[in-house]
C-alpha cells in the first residue's frame, strides 16, 4: 500500500469515527442549548445503547434489528428518567451545580451498568457482514457505511425538526429566551425533558452503530462522551453542521495522528484540540461571535 492509499484509509476510518463523535456532540449541544448545562452523562447513554443491544441480542436472543430498537428505547427512557430524577427536582440550582449533578449521574449509571452486565468487554455482530468494499484505493467495511448512513439520516432529521416544525422552533425559542418562551405558552420544562430524550436517543444510536467495530463495555461512555464534547466545542455548541464538522475533523485528525505517528497519541489529540479551541476560539471554529446556534 502506498502512502496515498494509506492516507485515504486513515481519512475514511477517521470520518466514520468522526461521525460517531458528531452524533454524540449534537446531543451535548441540544441539551446545552435548551438548558445551558453540559450534560456529562451523555457518554453513558452511548454506552447504554451498545450494552443494551448486546444484552437483548446475546443474552435474550432477540433478533438484531429488534435488539437495536429496544436498546434505543431503553436508553431514551433512561435519559428521560435521568432528567426527571436528577435535573428537574433542582429548581434553583445554578448551571455549575447541575453540571456536577450530571457527572454524579454518569458515575451512577456506569456503576449500575457494571453491576448488571459485569466488567467484560462484549462484541456485537456487524449489521451486514464483514465483506470489505473497495472504494478508490481504500477499503470500507459495510459497518462504516451504516455509520455514515445513520449519522446522515439523524442529522438531516434533526435539522428538519429544528427548522421546520413548530416543536423544533419552540425548543430553539427556549434556548434563545426562556422567559419569553414561557410567555408565549411553551412549557419550558417539557422542552428540557424533550431535549434529554432526543440527545439520549442520539447518543445511544451512536453507541449501537459503533459497537460492532470497537466492542463495548460498561466504561466506553467516558471516552466517547469526552470526544463528543470535544466535537461540540469545536462546533461552538451548534446543534447542526458546526458540531458535525467538529466531529469529522476530530475523527480524521485522530486517525491521521494514530496512523502516521503512534496510536498512543490518539486520545491525546482530542484533548489538545479541546484546549486549543477553549483558549483561542471559545465560540467554536465556525461561529462568528455571538450569532445563531442552530
Amino acid at each position: 500500500m502506498n502512502l496515498g492509499q494509506q492516507l485515504a484509509q486513515y481519512i475514511l476510518s477517521g470520518l466514520s469515527t468522526g461521525a460517531i463523535y458528531a452524533l454524540i456532540g449534537v446531543g451535548f449541544a441540544i441539551i446545552h442549548n435548551a438548558t445551558g448545562i453540559i450534560n456529562f452523562a451523555q457518554g453513558e447513554f452511548v454506552m447504554l445503547g451498545g450494552m443494551a443491544t448486546f444484552f437483548f441480542f446475546s443474552a435474550l436472543k432477540v433478533p438484531l434489528v429488534l435488539a437495536v430498537a429496544l436498546a434505543t428505547g431503553v436508553s431514551t427512557m433512561a435519559g428521560i428518567v435521568f432528567e426527571r430524577l436528577a435535573i428537574r427536582p433542582l429548581k434553583n440550582a445554578t448551571p455549575i451545580n447541575l453540571v456536577i449533578i450530571t457527572i454524579g449521574g454518569s458515575i451512577l449509571i456506569r456503576g449500575i451498568a457494571m453491576l448488571l452486565w459485569g466488567k467484560d468487554t462484549h462484541s456485537l455482530p456487524t449489521f451486514s457482514g464483514d465483506e470489505p468494499i473497495m472504494l478508490g484505493g481504500a477499503t470500507v467495511m459495510p459497518q462504516h457505511l451504516w455509520i455514515f448512513a445513520v449519522t446522515l439520516v439523524v442529522i438531516v432529521c434533526s435539522k428538519l425538526f429544528f427548522s421546520h416544525t413548530i416543536s423544533g422552533k419552540a425548543m430553539r425559542a427556549c434556548s434563545y429566551n426562556r422567559r419569553a418562551a414561557g410567555l408565549v405558552g411553551i412549557d419550558v420544562r417539557r422542552m428540557v425533558l424533550f431535549s434529554f430524550a432526543i440527545s439520549s436517543a442520539m447518543g445511544s444510536m451512536a453507541g449501537i452503530i459503533i459497537a460492532p467495530l470497537t466492542m463495548t463495555s460498561y466504561d466506553v461512555g467516558v471516552m466517547l462522551g469526552l470526544k463528543g464534547f470535544c466535537a461540540a466545542i469545536i462546533g461552538g455548541m451548534s446543534s447542526g453542521l458546526g458540531t458535525v464538522f467538529g466531529g469529522l475533523i476530530l475523527g480524521v485528525l485522530e486517525a491521521l495522528g494514530a496512523g502516521l505517528f503512534s496510536s498512543g497519541y490518539k486520545d491525546a489529540i482530542a484533548f489538545i484540540i479541546l484546549l486549543l479551541i477553549l483558549f483561542i476560539r471559545p465560540q467554536g471554529l465556525f461561529r462568528r461571535g455571538e450569532s445563531e446556534r442552530v
Binding site: I166, K169, A170, R172, A173, Y176, N177, R179, A180, A181, G182, L183, V184, G185, I186, D187, V188, R189, S291, E292, R293, V294
Partner: protein, 247 residues
Amino acid sequence: MLKIKNINTYYGKVHALKNVSLHLHKGEIVTLIGANGAGKTTMLNTISAVTPPSAGNIIFEERDLAGLSPDRIVKLGICQVPEGRQVFKPLSVEDNLHLGAYLRYRGREGRAEIRRDLDDVYALFPRLLERRKQAAGTLSGGEQQMLAMGRALMARPRLLLLDEPSMGLAPLVVQEIFRAIEQLRQERGTTVLLVEQNAKAALRMAGRGYVLETGKVVLEGLPSDLLENNDVQRAYLGKDKKEIWER
C-alpha cells in the same frame, strides 16, 4: 374578569408588591401607571406566573391561578407583551409570529384559522410583512415592539397585558400601537391591562386607571379624575408644582 386580591410578591428580600388589589371587567382597558421601580412590571409578571406571589389570590374568570406555570396562564387566555420586547432574535419574524400561536398549533387548531390571524397581524403592522423572512434581532426597536405585539395577538388572548408598549418609539408609531389596542377592544372585546410611562396617552385611552407607588396602589379611578389629581399631574404628567399652584 380578572380579580386580584391582596397580592404580595418578593424578590428575595425585596418586597416588590405590597397587598395590591385590582380588578378588570371584560372588554375594559385599564392602565397601571407609576414611577420607575414602582412594581408595574412585577405586577404583570405576577399575573403571568413568572414571579409567583407569596400571598394573595388572582382569580381569572372564576379560576384561581395559584400554582400555575406561565404556559398554563397563556393557555387560559392571558398573554403578556413583556417589557423590552423579548422577541426570539435569531428566529425570523414569521417564526416569531408562528410561535405566538404555539398553543393553537399544539391544540390541533386548523391551520387556515391561524393563517388568517397571521394575515391580520400583517395587515395591522405592514412593516412586519415586508420583513417576514428577516431575523427578529435585526429589526429596529419599533419594529420589534410591533412584532412582540403581533406575537401576543397570535395567541388570541382574552386578556392582554402590555408592558410599556410605547417605550422608545416615535410618536407616530406609538399612535399606531395605541390605535391597534383600541381596535382590538372594539373588534374582539379583548380586555387590556396597560402599563405605561406615557401616562397621558394611556389615561386618554383607558376606562380606568391605577397608580402604583413603591409596591402599593395609592390611587384608583376614572381617567378624568386621575388626570385632575395633583399628585398624578406632578409625578407623571410632567407638570411641575408651580404650574399647579398658579392654576
